[in-house]
């Protein structure tokens, strides 16, 4: 099996080289046989990698511990679900996963793209194949999942208990899918540059891909936050760790890109900027992989330090140099077709939105790299942590939130005063009322007040857009209220899906702002003893330590500490937090594997989470050490994730989704800047 896997990897590698060489050379022009050969090469790579993946999965399922990878990440007592997901739990397997998924995407790009992009597709194949070949070469020369041990151990080491969590089995592949799918827009951008077909064709070709990859990134990041929150037990979900930042960076530039392409489609502006953004986003995705896998920047998340990182660094430099050189050589052909006409216009709002996204991305990158930069320049390592990132990004983020509400209200080209009055009255009113209500309720935290008020403003904007759209449909078509709503969204999915995404984002922001009111207390309690904690809403929670019980489960010994919760003197039931020690069996003895892990007790509602961590017993007695935390509004973040996902799916639902004739669309407000011109519909 390992031999077959090895052989499959080599096949994929050589096919990848062939496609890259032929594709980049351009010799396929006027040679249908070569063009076909490149396309078939892409499918061939995919087939070879499917074979390799099947080999690894088979080895995992059959517990073939002669493979180092299988030994390192599974054991006989590991639940089957985690045996299957161990495929991407470690460095080597995740590389194979990455290559496999990229080749699937690459095949889909070839098979699903309309024939009108035929002049781009062989170049696209060249780029995707080169990237796949790179990933396969990392496996072949540095981190081979089919590496054998010198002997066959009886049992494996098992999966780290912190990774034995459903979120942790879905979060990495989601994030990988996001990272990986960025390659396709990048490939189309390079193809457009190489073929000098620099109209909006490439942007139309990748529209769905960019949204798909943005959704995967968003969901992957959110799942990572959720995993950190429920599994790691430090009471938060985001620590501005380099690995977390690495996932945020491409998300930021991708979000900027999603907005700025609309200006290019509508007005023919920002061509260079968009190409630069997509090349930059691709580089940031590779940079993220480099950070995660090289250990150059101290992170609690890093994979073991290994030379794999330097493969990625080299690749990053080559890809960046190639992309930006190419962009430079095509510079004169990328003249904008229009100029900015007014500062009070949709274009200007989008431009500022882009500047802010890139500014935030830059500050996150700067803060992440600062230890390295300061060591290079000043000789001493200086680090910045969460206080830095919050100081810089909270004000910038709030500005962006404000633009989220402003952008959809301003007309294209030049907004008139009457237009502004008509559009802004209600949303601004909604924001103002939110601020007044919160002030009256006694909220005094400045940033939180601004955040909630802006959320009210954005909610006002979106509500007004939906309200006016539905009203217009009812008037013109005589639809019933629900039908008008469904048709409104269905006929203009990109615009209204985008609004739904905005609602998701504002719900996230409400959740983030809630953390300003976090309350926390540590205590060592004997059975019967209790502590009190006041919630930000003015309630008093009393936590009474009941006792500790111990029992053995499938592959672990569990100490469970139980706490009785009362709110304002009224009993609210019990919560149980656990300390788990996983073990493996060796010669009939239980041998502890990994460090002990904590199961946090969490009780959520829309207002606040009670979050209890059992840190361990005192010297084997029933006295327990606890941390009690009240986290307001955390649930909103996960809820915002669902709304965002739903909006994203609406946006990219297959089909045209914009039946109105193009000229009418030029004048209307809203995001629905689909395709001007005939290109898409021909």
């Amino acid at each position: 099996m390992t031999l077959l896997g090895q052989f499959a990897l080599w096949t994929a590698f050589l096919l990848g080289l062939w496609c890259a060489v032929v594709g980049f050379s351009g010799r396929w022009r006027g040679r249908p046989d070569l063009t076909a050969s490149v396309t078939r090469g892409v499918y061939g790579i995919c087939a070879a990698l499917l074979v390799a993946a099947a080999c690894l999965w088979k080895a995992l399922v059959t517990h073939d511990f002669s493979l180092e990878y299988v030994w390192a990440y599974t054991s006989r007592n590991l639940p089957t679900y985690y045996v299957l997901s161990a495929f991407w739990a470690g460095q080597k397997g995740s590389l194979l996963f990455w290559a496999l998924v990229l080749s699937l995407f690459a095949s889909a790009a070839q098979a699903l793209s309309s024939r009108r992009y035929a002049a781009l597709l062989p170049y696209v194949a060249a780029v995707t194949s080169a990237v796949v070949a790179f990933f396969v070469s990392v496996m072949l020369f540095a981190a081979n999942p089919f590496e054998r041990l010198a002997f066959t151990p009886l049992d494996g080491r098992g999966l780290n208990p912190q990774l034995q969590n459903v979120g942790m089995t879905i979060h990495p592949p989601m994030l990988y899918l996001g990272y990986i799918s960025i390659t396709i827009p990048f490939a189309f951008a390079i193809a457009a540059l190489l073929s000098r077909k620099l109209d909006t064709g490439w942007i139309h070709a990748i529209r769905k891909w960019t949204i798909v990859s943005w959704i995967f990134l968003s969901v992957g990041i959110t799942l990572g936050m959720w995993w950190a929150y429920v599994e790691l037990g430090w009471g938060g979900y985001w620590a501005w760790d380099p690995v977390e930042n690495a996932s945020l960076l491409p998300w930021l530039t991708m979000t900027a890109f999603l907005h700025s392409v609309m200006i290019q489609e509508k007005r023919g502006m920002l061509k260079r900027w968009n190409l630069g953004l997509i090349v930059g986003t691709f580089m940031l995705s590779i940079f993220g992989t480099f950070i995660t896998r090289s250990g150059v920047i101290a992170s609690v998340h890093s994979f073991t330090q290994s030379n794999v990182g330097y493969f990625f660094l080299a690749f990053l430099v080559v890809a960046g140099a190639f992309g930006f050189t190419l962009l430079y050589t095509r510079w004169p052909q990328l003249e904008p077709e229009a100029r900015l006409e007014s500062m009070v216009s949709r274009e200007a709002a989008f431009l500022f939105n882009n500047l802010l996204f890139v500014g935030i991305a830059f500050s996150v990158l700067w803060g992440t790299l600062f230890p390295i930069l300061s060591e290079l320049v000043r000789g001493t390592k200086i680090t910045v942590g969460p206080p830095f990132f919050n100081r810089v990004n909270v004000p910038l983020g709030l500005l962006l939130l404000a633009l989220t509400g402003i952008g959809p209200l301003i007309a294209w080209r030049k907004a008139s005063t009457s237009n502004l009055r008509r559009q802004f009255t209600w949303p601004l009113g909604a924001g103002g009322v939110t601020a007044l209500v919160l002030l009256a309720l006694g909220m005094r935290d400045g940033y939180a007040l601004i955040a909630f008020s802006l959320a009210g403003f954005v909610a006002g904007t979106v509500t007004q857009e939906f309200f006016r759209g539905v009203r217009a449909r009812r008037r013109i078509h005589g639809d019933s209220l629900p039908m008008a709503f469904i048709r409104l969204v269905g006929r203009n999915r990109r615009r209204y899906g985008g609004y739904i995404v905005h609602v998701g984002i504002l719900i996230y922001c409400v959740g983030f702002a809630g953390m300003a009111f976090k309350r926390e207390r540590e205590a060592t309690l004997k059975p019967g003893q209790s502590v009190e904690l006041r919630s930000p809403y003015g309630h008093t929670y009393r936590f009474t330590h009941v006792g500790i019980s111990q029992y053995q489960a499938l592959n672990r010994i569990v100490s469970a500490a139980t706490v009785q919760v009362a709110r304002d003197g009224k009993a609210e039931g019990v919560m149980t937090s656990e300390k788990r020690q996983h073990f493996t069996m060796e010669n009939g003895d239980k041998v502890p594997s990994f460090e002990p892990s904590t199961e946090v007790a969490i009780r959520s509602d829309l207002r606040e989470d009670l979050y209890i961590v059992f840190a361990g017993p005192v010297n084997g007695t029933e006295e327990a050490v606890y941390r009690f935390t009240i986290n307001p509004l955390v649930w909103w973040i996960w809820y915002g994730g669902f709304v965002l996902l739903f909006g994203g799916i609406v946006t990219m639902w297959p089909g045209d989704g914009s039946p109105m004739p193009a000229p009418a669309r030029r004048t209307q407000a809203g995001y629905g800047v689909t395709l001007v011109g005939a290109g898409e519909r021909s």
């Binding site: 030994w71 390192a72 470690g90 460095q91 041990l149 010198a150 080491r157 780290n160 912190q162 990774l163 790691l232 037990g233 101290a298 992170s299 609690v300 890093s302 994979f303 073991t304 290994s306 100029r339 900015l340 006409e341 007014s342 500062m343 216009s345 200007a348 431009l351 500022f352 500047l355 500014g359 830059f362 500050s363 700067w366 803060g367 600062f370 001493t380 390592k381 200086i382 680090t383 910045v384 942590g385 206080p387 830095f388 100081r391 810089v392 910038l396 540590e522 060592t524 990994f594 460090e595 002990p596 892990s597 904590t598 961590v613 840190a615 017993p617 005192v618 010297n619 006295e623 050490v625």
Partner: protein, 138 residues
């Protein structure tokens, strides 16, 4: 004034604000990240370096952890192989914090005049977290 010029001014304001926030942020919140050896040479060269907020990255000396669960106080020693510092911390430590096999930690806090590093935060990174050393035949 043309819209393009106005936009350039707006853009310059944003770029300047981002730059200002970054430089101020680094100045206000940046802390040294030192190894025990670097910290020792800093304090030797400059006695005012005590009680300065910093981060120290080192390995936990095996067997050095003393826990007092009742007060949640933890004493341990860290070392980079050449220089050793005792560390005192009050609070909960992550599950990965053990003195078993060369755990890497980052402690944040300040070095007191008593020669003890008073930590306000302890981060532990476990070498075995995602990757394992190869098994040796028993």
């Amino acid at each position: 004034m043309k819209a393009g010029t106005k936009f350039l001014i707006g853009a310059a304001v944003i770029v300047a604000s981002v730059g200002f926030l970054i430089t101020e942020g680094v100045k206000e919140t940046g802390v040294y990240f030192l190894t025990p050896t670097e910290l020792a040479s800093k304090t030797a060269a400059d006695p005012t370096f005590y009680d300065v907020g910093l981060k120290m990255g080192a390995k936990v000396v095996p067997g050095s952890i003393r826990r007092d669960p009742a007060t949640r106080e933890i004493d341990f020693k860290v070392s980079d192989g050449r220089q050793i510092y005792p560390v005192r911390y009050r609070g909960l430590v992550p599950d990965t914090f053990t003195d078993a096999n060369d755990i890497e930690v980052v402690v944040e806090g300040r070095l007191g005049h008593d020669g003890v590093f008073h930590a306000t935060d302890v981060l532990a990174k476990c070498g075995s977290r995602y990757e394992a050393a190869k098994p040796t035949r028993a």
